[in-house]
Amino acid sequence: MSVRNLPPLSLHVPEPRFRPGDEADFNDFDMPVAGAVARPDIAVNPADIRDMSYAMVRVLDDEGTAQGPWDPRLDSDTLLTMLWHMALTRAYDERLYRAQRQGKTSFYMKCTGEEATSIAAAHALDHDDMLFPSYRQQGLLIARDWPLLDMMNQVFSNKGDRLKGRQMPIMYSVRDANFFSISGNLATQYPQAVGWAMASAARGDTRIAAAWCGEGSTAEGDFHSAMTFASVYRAPVILNVINNQWAISSFSGFAGAENTTFAARAVGYGMAGLRIDGNDALAVYAATLWAADRARSNHGPTLIEHFTYRAEGHSTSDDPTKYRSADESTKWPLGDPIARLKQHVIALGIWDEDRHAAMDREVAEQARTAQREAEKLGTLHDGLKQPFDTMFEDVFEEMPWHLKEQAQQMADERRAAGI
């Protein structure tokens, strides 16, 4: 026993502020002022913008007016297309959430409340930039105008599923949209994005890479290896952390949010770090464009923390009322990304309530039509699956003898059993 006259040690286990039954109260949230953060030159030395990792870039103010140097000054077409893509993503999510509840697939994940973090980012990137998404970035595909039908075929694992029913729903892979195959293991795409960007730089290409992960996944070793490599080789990559406050039932404190920001992870690596209002599509667009221009000009990587809120459960397998206050999402001080962009375009005089309502009807119809088409090709449990022997394909480029033997064995056993 120590003879020091000290109280016993105590272990700090983080605890979120609000649990079920608590009234969520964000009155003490220190709302960053829209337009208040300076916009540095893209060639800035990361050491000179360390404070930006602790601030928050916001463009849209409470009235929906774009403020300050980060206003990307987008034309009406781009604004309304972003709004449309966000609404379409929400409608798509609604359809598939319901389809899962109807037993048409095993699993689904919505991105409600986080649409801007994917869609505005995709709009700020070039189409041939390579995207390394996590599992809640369906907005990237929708922003790249990838057909909902193809996405739904994947979710239903039906005959039209290009991935041959091998991946859980939502783990898309779309090479034609420069969208990497989604892994269920978290943050694995981070070092891969860095490697892709390093290759692009080594080959003297012009394309850059962007990756997404959740704030919870920043605790993975992959995140830190990726940060090290990106920093060491000054890789042309944008590393996005979607801080939606919750990793299933674990609040962001279990990834270190009580102690610092996620953008501040950049500081230790000597990397440019931006912390932005992830529910502000204009801030997301502007930050992504800044980071992209920086990467394209050989000034290296940027870490962007998108401060947002996961308005729904983690997935259809999750019930958030079991671990967090029910009114957290409605009281979220940074609002809803679609409502905020809508307010902005209405304030600009290029949009109105009627057109918005018409858009909502149209995107709902678009999702409904796609679902109808997808269901013609089958849903998970209706038997319209891929042929069984496709299971053995694509393990290797050429099938080795042991897999041929196993494929034959499966066929023989099924035949013998009369299946």
Binding site: K164, S173, A199
Partner: protein, 346 residues
């Protein structure tokens, strides 16, 4: 056939030189090939396998990395996604575990999960195995961890000629390959008699290595010695232990060097065991769930009616690799001789 397709003149090489030559030859033929790993650049690797390559091909094709095996493999997968063909080096096989998720869940499954949209044609080189007093962190043989993973190939050469031909085939293969290099035999074969001086490769015919391009197909075992009484299945360092023991014991054994574990040359194995009726499986790795268990099961499945004795396994013990007790751990001549006696008795 272009000039670069020619095997050309042979030169005496040890295994390090043969491996270096394989990388050099393939890099000269295909500018998508890049080499990355700890100390592989300016220094040329702690075993010198990449010596001179950075000078020849430049820093964007041969470069040092942070000490992060996870990062090395993760970045290699990303580079492969871009269209390059990376050859990451893991300095010792014992260090590969931080990269397991990137190998097992990513590289190995990328082709499958994306239905061929994305692939990971990477060749992970790593020195493995004991016999150099490397203790438990510089001696392990983790091949069975990788043979257990669908989508990975695992290749282990036993001499300079094979090392070059197999490595070229692995680099050109469109699937991820684990290429384990038995470091004890980098400079010369090792029959397990650790008190004897090392015989350099130059005294052995397998050191005659073509300077140019040639491939040894993955999945084709090498018949080291033809025999009629018993089949010895082995790979890497243990091939030389088997050769030594068979010569000393005067047993008419058939020795098969598997060269690659996945894909496996089952035809060669089954043909031999059906002829001899007896089989001993030898590897340096720990016994339980080792690749010898797979070989033993396959022999039983394919050759049951030809077997005259239970398959014997000669392996490392199920303990970590002990530093000072290395030679009690290493499955050397004494243990193989005893196993051969047992299998011949039945």
């Amino acid at each position: 056939m272009s000039a670069s397709d020619v095997a050309g003149e042979t030169r005496t090489m040890n295994m390090i030189q043969a491996i270096n030559s394989a990388i050099d030859v393939t890099m000269g033929r295909d500018d998508r090939i890049v080499v990355l790993g700890e100390d592989v650049g300016f220094f040329g690797g702690v075993f010198k396998a990449t010596e001179g390559l950075q000078k020849k091909y430049g820093k964007t094709r041969v470069f040092d990395t942070p000490i992060s095996e996870l990062g090395i493999i993760g970045v290699a997968v990303g580079m492969a996604t871009y269209g390059l063909r990376p050859i990451p080096e893991i300095q010792f096989a014992d260090y590969i575990y931080p990269a397991l998720d990137q190998l097992v869940s990513e590289a190995a499954r990328l082709r499958y999960r994306s239905a061929g949209e994305y692939t990971a044609p990477i060749t992970v080189r790593s020195p493995f195995g004991g016999g150099i007093f490397g203790g438990q962190t510089h001696s392990q043989s983790p091949e069975a961890i990788f043979t257990h993973v669908a989508g990975l190939k695992t290749v282990i050469p036993s001499n300079p000629y094979d090392a070059k031909g197999l490595l070229i085939a692995a680099i050109e293969d469109n699937d991820p390959t684990i290429f384990f290099e038995p470091k004890r035999i980098y400079n010369g074969p090792f029959d397990g008699h650790y008190d004897n001086p090392v015989q350099p490769w130059s005294k052995f015919p397998e050191s005659a290595v073509p300077e140019g391009y040639y491939r040894i197909e993955l999945g084709k075992a090498r018949l080291v010695r033809e025999g009629g009484d018993v089949t010895i299945l082995c790979y890497g360092t243990m091939v030389h232990v088997a050769v030594g023991v068979v010569a000393e014991a005067g047993i008419d054994a058939e020795i098969i060097d598997l060269r690659s574990l996945v894909p496996l040359d089952m035809e060669r194995i089954a043909g031999s065991v059906k002829k001899t009726g007896r089989c001993v499986v030898v590897h340096e790795a720990t016994k339980t769930s080792g690749f010898g268990a797979e070989l033993s099961a396959l022999v039983q499945e394919h050759c049951f009616h030809s077997l005259e004795a239970p398959v014997q396994r000669v392996t490392g013990w199920d303990t970590p690799y002990p530093h000072s007790l290395e030679w009690a751990y290493f499955p050397g001549p004494v243990r193989l001789t005893e196993a051969l006696k047992r299998v011949m008795q039945d």
